[in-house]
Subunit: 323 residues, 2 copies
């Protein structure tokens, strides 16, 4: 048996991620800036941009950008295979979508860490934005990052058709807003000290974390030209890993320490917040995470898409991560 | 002389505003809601939406929506006049643009009033959002209102072409972000107790207030089909009234009382913030406002647009208002 062939065909998630992350990091570095774009009189004030860059650069696992890239690759290679006369989708759209989702995620962490919310001083092993720059700057940096996400999605570029720009904005706005991430955080706030059923907990997490993770997958798909069948499968995949992410987060909050997490561990229990562990217990939570992983992988298998190795690998990583 | 004819041809800004405001208020009432749109599983949590509605509904002069409508009418009637075979632009786009700009304005007030920013307890004669709902809810309501603005601009509607959606998002995102409103607020924060030159003060106000007012005008124009000449003129008009608004705001902060303003008067002086009055004095500030009004009206006169009565009236109102 020729093991070399087997090795070459095996998918290396680490290498795949590193390749894409390199592009994402450089793009974020370039786009979160005080420089005025061509044709515009003025840039942003340096002090605000410094806080924005601190919030975004040099940290984070970049799960959301990787989901965008993986979904984009899956639908693109599929269509290219189906019809080689179609032009390849410009990478620009996927890169912008990946960065836009990450900016929304980054802004939500900045605001979530503020004293009036979770009051956290440590994030990715560093002082949180409001600790370093003050509360007012943290508030404004978060606000500006949200606006920047939509600015990134709507460039005056010929290679990025308006239909795609509008669809990306639509997916991101809905996932970020009151029926998505912000709504989930509001339910989270209102749930301190409250006993929730598993179904209520699921609804909360679907909005708080799931909506943006699912949107990452759908935005990646929107950068290609996915069939309705593929889109439906990716939506199911996104919902499953979106929820699995939070179940595992709840588990890690109990089982990992702060140094490993890069943020304060045991926070949820301390703040008397309902979690999967408090509702289901550790063992059943872990089993539930594996069940959601199975749902995500089954959706991919039924999607009709062929190049789903990165999406499979990311689903595995979400569920089996240790931090 | 037949005075009736003269009366009919005179432009009644009050009646014009009332007609448009009726539509804007009803649209805001409908769109800031917990209801899930068709085809979506879930809406937003009621407690968050209550804070968002409080921030948006039943208050505010709605200057920005009126600027959108006035600019849209100016470019639309012009093009219709130029080529009657063109279909009238759907009102839907202008209405959505008007509401989106107002949501951004409303969110900025919610965040601006928070204790870590201006720490204000009174707005439009009512308790501010954080006083009524708590700081965390105010933070999240503001965040969700920003996302909703971009959601409003990107509906799945045949009558609103993707090109228009993308352009509206682009204009709004840039005006709201770090090189616009949020950037201006950051400069404002950093300027407490600092002595600014008139030029530095102008730059700050151009971002803080001017960018969104100018974007309102440009977004209205983007809902029609303005010529490059008309767009350039409207940009100049928007810049002039954007700055004039803030000059007059600085004057009123000194000359009006809290009851008239519906917010705390004398705040800027109390907080040792540089203003036009502190830099130029009252008399020169008032003269500067009139000069900016002249620039705005001159730009309209040179625009090649014929139906600019509402834009003229709004410019007059901005400069000659008493609250």
């Amino acid at each position: 048996m020729d093991t070399r062939v087997k090795t070459e065909s095996a998918f290396d998630l680490g290498a795949w991620s590193a390749r894409h992350l390199d592009g994402v990091e450089r793009a974020l570095e370039r786009w979160v800036t005080a420089e005025a774009p061509a044709g515009v009189d003025h840039g942003a004030p340096a002090e605000l941009v410094e806080a924005m860059r601190y919030a975004v650069l040099d940290g984070g696992k970049r799960l959301r950008p990787l989901l965008v890239m993986a979904a984009w690759e899956a639908v693109t290679s599929d269509r290219v295979g189906a019809d080689a006369t179609r032009p390849a989708v410009p990478h620009e759209a996927a890169l912008r979508a990946a960065c836009a989702v990450e900016l929304i995620h980054a802004y939500s962490l900045v605001h979530d860490d503020m004293p009036c919310m979770d009051n956290d001083v440590l994030r990715r092993g560093k002082p949180t934005v409001h600790v370093k720059f003050g509360e007012a700057s943290a508030l404004l940096a978060g606000d500006a990052l949200q606006a920047l996400a939509f600015e990134l999605l709507t460039p005056e570029l010929e290679g990025m058709p308006a239909e795609r720009q509008a669809r990306l904005c639509r997916l991101l706005a809905r996932a970020a807003g009151s029926a998505g991430m912000a709504g989930g955080q509001a339910i989270d706030l209102a749930s301190v000290g409250v006993s929730l059923t598993e179904s209520q907990l699921r609804d909360m997490h679907r909005l708080k974390t799931g909506a943006l993770l699912q949107a990452s997958v759908m935005m990646g798909a929107a950068c290609g030209d996915a069939s309705a069948e593929a889109q439906a499968a990716l939506k199911t995949y996104g919902a499953a890993i979106g929820l699995a992410f939070q179940v595992v987060d709840d588990i890690l909050d109990v089982t990992a320490d702060s140094a490993t997490l890069g943020k304060t561990a045991g926070k949820d229990a301390d703040q008397d917040k309902p979690t999967y562990v408090s509702v289901l217990g550790l063992e059943r939570s872990a089993a539930h995470a594996q069940e959601l992983l199975g749902q995500a992988l089954a959706a991919l298998a039924q999607s009709g898409l062929r190049n789903t190795q990165a999406l499979q690998g990311l689903a595995n990583m979400v569920v089996n991560r240790s931090c």
